[in-house]
């Protein structure tokens, strides 16, 4: 999960200036030589002369240098840059989007290199992609997609309906990432070169949204390449180079078929795992945009006209999971007491204040969202009451263990320990490697409390799955979720999901600390970089950078 940072890209303009300065300092050696010869002849007091000539030489070099800079500044003033460097945090380990999990790949490749049958907009709604239009049958079982004409892969192969069919069939046969989300999939076929028909065995409300992600990506069935290091898609960008844990270079495809032609010819993506290094890279101009920036670090860019800072909406939920089968946490009174004991506003304030309170499992950009923050307001008195009902008190304090991955830092654990202590819960905080968390908590479900940023969108199914690590088993919720997915009406589906989410939140199956909103900072002059959802969906074709 952690990525190291190797190497740097010297920014073009910086290296140019350096060499210019080196050349212009050339004439300064002459006066210096003269100054050195003179004392041999006179042998007198020559130090002032030396200093004077050195000063003169420096002044000459400086004036030449600044003059030159001014000239280039005027020449470049207002020009659109050929290349934009984007700073991101988590690097993908390889480019195999069919087998490698992690949103870093979705962020990099979907919409830029690979394209799906349908796409998403910044509000997380389904929009046309390779398919221009689509129809859904009355019973919600047959989806017919009409493809755009003239779509070409970057290797100039034409994209036909058969490519779509082969991609989806390959996905299901190979059990690739995303295949598990195509519930009730029955078959997919090409009725003509531009029409694809997908049939389901039972209606599935979420199908289109799922097809806008990995499940709907279309690959060139005739191309042979190593998916771990290369990518051949129909998107606006070509993958030029991939340096694991360091950078990715994207070049605009001159023959791109779509109307959203890329505005910047070259986009370099650099992965900067260290927050300070990332901030310094933005400040020094090594990168023109940075996402995410730690909110507390972004403060140095606010009120600075050279930079813009904005928080984007996202679907990241910081979930404090409470083991439904834990020794103490199986008691709903204990779980509710924990929810009452947590002061969410304070947690958000300590993180810089840009995150949003979230009272339930569904964030605002997902279907079925409703504001549930009122269910468990911060109320330590109520928490203590519930704990004493559950049999805990000053002489029998409740001891719980919180296990979470070290990628989230120790601050949240420290704060939770402090807040829960006030109601009589002793929290033993264990900050572990992500792999240890995966083993102990996610696989073996050996935990009391756990903290994870669940960044996925449309992931309510976790609460309808009794085998998930939450150990949350509520038949009513499972039924409501099934109904919500089986209905053909989006409104009904949203209503049912909202109902189920309220039950999950009421049961205090977990506590949702906050909805993390990604802060993005960029250099003034850069435009078109997505701010919302940019950790999973980062279309780059609109990005331009006008040097000031």
């Amino acid at each position: 999960m952690n990525a190291d940072r190797h190497g740097t890209h010297a920014h073009d303009s910086v290296t140019a200036t350096d060499t210019d300065a080196a050349q212009e300092s050339g004439p300064s050696t002459d006066p210096e030589l003269n100054a050195r010869i003179r004392p041999m002849r006179s042998g007198g007091n020559t130090l002032p002369w030396k200093l004077l000539s050195l000063l003169l030489a420096l002044a000459l070099a400086f004036s030449l240098w600044t003059g030159h800079r001014g000239a280039t500044g005027q020449a470049e003033g207002g020009t659109v840059a050929d290349s934009v460097t984007v700073g991101l945090k988590l690097a993908p380990t390889n480019l195999d989007i069919r087998n490698q999990s992690g949103t870093a790949l979705d962020q990099l490749l979907i919409g830029n290199v690979y394209q799906g049958l349908v796409s998403r907009d910044s509000r997380n709604r389904v929009r046309p992609g390779l398919a221009r239009t689509w129809n859904v049958s009355e019973d919600g079982l047959v989806y017919t997609f009409n493809l755009h004409e003239g779509i070409r892969f970057s290797n100039n192969h034409a994209l036909r309906a058969q490519d779509v069919v082969d991609s989806i069939r390959g996905l299901m046969a190979g059990h690739y990432q995303g295949s598990e989300m195509l519930e009730g999939f029955q078959d997919v076929e090409a009725t003509d070169p531009l029409t694809v028909r997908l049939t389901l065995s039972r209606p599935y409300q979420d199908l289109l949204w799922q097809l806008s992600g990995r499940a709907g990506l279309v690959f060139d069935r005739r191309a042979h390449y190593d998916m771990k290091t290369q990518a051949v898609g129909s998107g606006p960008y070509l993958l030029e180079s991939f340096r694991p844990n360091d950078s990715v270079t994207l070049k605009a495809d001159p023959h791109y078929w779509g109307s959203d032609k890329p505005k910047t010819p070259t986009i370099v993506i650099r992965y900067l795992n260290d927050d300070n290094a990332a901030v310094n890279a933005l400040r020094s101009g090594d990168v023109q945009v940075l996402a995410p920036v730690t909110e507390n670090l972004a403060s140095s860019f606010r009120n600075n006209p050279d930079f813009q800072v904005k928080e984007g909406n996202d679907t990241d939920k910081y979930v404090l999971a409470m083991n439904g089968k834990g020794a103490a946490t199986s008691d709903p009174r204990v779980r509710k007491a924990i929810r009452y004991a947590i002061d969410h506003r304070q947690l958000i304030a300590s993180r810089g204040g840009s995150d949003r309170a979230l009272g339930g499992p569904i964030p605002s950009l997902d279907p079925g969202y409703q504001d549930l923050t009122g269910l468990y307001p911060h109320d330590p008195e109520q928490a203590r009451r519930l704990l004493s009902q559950a049999g805990y008190g000053p002489d029998h304090r409740l001891k719980l263990r919180l296990t979470y991955a070290n990628t989230y830092g120790s601050e949240l654990g420290d704060q939770l320990r402090s807040q829960l202590r006030q109601v009589g819960i002793d929290l033993d905080v264990r900050v572990v490697e992500f792999s240890v968390w995966l083993q102990d908590v996610h696989a073996n479900k050996d935990y009391d409390l756990s903290l994870v940023d669940h960044g996925e969108s449309h992931d309510f199914h976790q609460w309808a799955n009794p085998n998930y690590y939450y150990n949350y088993d509520n038949h009513q919720v499972q039924e409501l979720y099934q109904k919500a997915m089986a209905t053909t009406s989006a409104d009904d589906s949203n209503r049912l999901l909202a109902q189920a989410a309220r039950i999950v939140s009421n049961d205090a199956a977990a506590d949702w600390l906050f909805n993390y909103r990604v802060t993005t900072a960029w250099r003034t002059g850069l435009e078109g970089f997505p701010v919302d959802l940019n950790q999973s969906l980062m279309p780059l074709s609109d990005v331009t950078y006008r040097r000031g």
């Binding site: 300070n276 730690t294 670090l297 300590s350 704060q415 807040q419």
Partner: protein
């Protein structure tokens, strides 16, 4: 031949503690001479304060350390928070005080471990069995190339982040160093006449090591062990930053540094405090080692020499008996040697 004469000599040589000045009296002279120099006074003050803060923090800190306030993070120093607050709104001074106890424990344990390990290795290295000594010398030379950090990272795999990782990694690494640095001094002493005569008098090798060799290397030990203590403070900070040192939830200076160093560009003060404490303590420990070596060695400390001489003059009364006792002893040296020969293998290794 009377049996009482076959007793082995009770007192070793007094290279480091010559004369008959008592331990407390000696300490008084040593501390007084250290107090005279400003740099050494500084090291004494800092170390005493370190110990004091560690003790006090077990019972009291200005603000309980598990009090966070999300609305008052990264606060500048104020009346409520003398050094300000950190990223969770906790009091920095309280955390540094609580951390001093952890760091003191780590330093003491690391010094103890490195001292014991180092001396055991020295014992093997100056062994008269050339096989043992050569093997150990080569082994130490090889192991010394293992960086402490690497060792800690390896240890952290089974142990997870814990104090034990820091203590074992530091103790092991510094113990090896200690052994290498002490060995020449110990070898020199082992070749000396008094050790030879002790050996021929049938004194056991372990006893010779403790009574003759260790006092000889005490000046070097002082410097090395105090430097180890200082380095272990630095190592704790570094290893905790890497995530293999003190686990989160346990206050330590490394923890305070780690949580604040991310924000060094925005809130530099919060990094300054723990950094300052670490620097002050490490400098104090390094100065302390040098000062102690100078102060306890009568050769370099005229004050101690004078005190020992004064104590020796006042202890002149029983001198004739002592001389006669020594003569007695020398009469029976041969017998002692014979006894040693019967006594078994534990003698005469040096």
């Amino acid at each position: 031949m009377s049996w009482e004469h076959t007793d082995r000599p009770r007192r070793g040589s007094r290279a480091a503690f010559p004369g008959r000045l008592g331990f407390l009296g000696r300490m008084r002279v040593v501390l007084a001479s250290m107090w005279r120099k400003a740099s050494e006074r500084y090291s004494l003050i800092v170390l005493v304060m370190w110990i004091l803060f560690s003790l006090v923090s077990r019972f009291w800190t200005p603000v309980p350390i598990w009090t966070t306030d999300g609305y008052r993070i990264w606060q500048a120093p104020s009346r409520d928070h003398l050094l300000g607050t950190d990223g969770t709104g906790a009091d920095i001074l309280s955390w540094l005080m609580a951390g001093s106890a952890t760091n003191l424990a780590i330093s003491l344990l690391a010094v103890l471990l490195s001292g014991v390990l180092g001396l055991l290795l020295v014992m093997a290295m100056v062994s008269r069995r050339s096989g043992v000594s050569q093997v150990v010398v080569v082994l130490v030379d090889a192991l010394i190339s293992l960086p402490t950090v690497l060792l800690a990272l390896i240890l952290a795999v089974p142990l997870g982040p814990s104090i034990a990782v820091v203590v074992v990694a530091c103790g092991f690494g510094y113990g090896l160093n200690l052994a290498r640095i002490v060995r020449p001094q110990a070898l020199l002493a082992a070749e000396s006449d008094y050790v030879q005569s002790a050996r021929h008098s049938g004194v056991g090798s372990f006893r010779i090591f403790c009574t003759h060799l260790v006092p000889n290397v005490i000046p070097v030990l002082c410097v090395q062990l105090s430097m180890s203590a200082g380095t272990s403070v630095l190592a704790e900070a570094g290893l905790t930053y890497l995530g293999v040192g003190v686990p989160s939830g346990l206050p330590s200076w490394g923890h305070s540094l780690t949580t604040s160093v991310k924000f060094i560009n925005v809130f530099p003060l919060t990094v300054l405090w723990p950094g300052l404490v670490v620097t002050m303590v490490v400098v104090a420990l390094n100065l302390f080692g040098d000062a102690l070596r100078d102060a306890i060695d009568p050769v370099t400390n005229p004050g101690l020499r004078a005190a020992v001489a004064a104590a020796g003059r006042s202890a002149l009364q029983p001198a004739p008996q002592a001389v006669s006792a020594q003569l007695d002893d020398s009469d029976h040296l041969v017998e002692n040697a014979m006894y040693a020969g019967e006594g078994g293998n534990d003698v005469a290794k040096y």
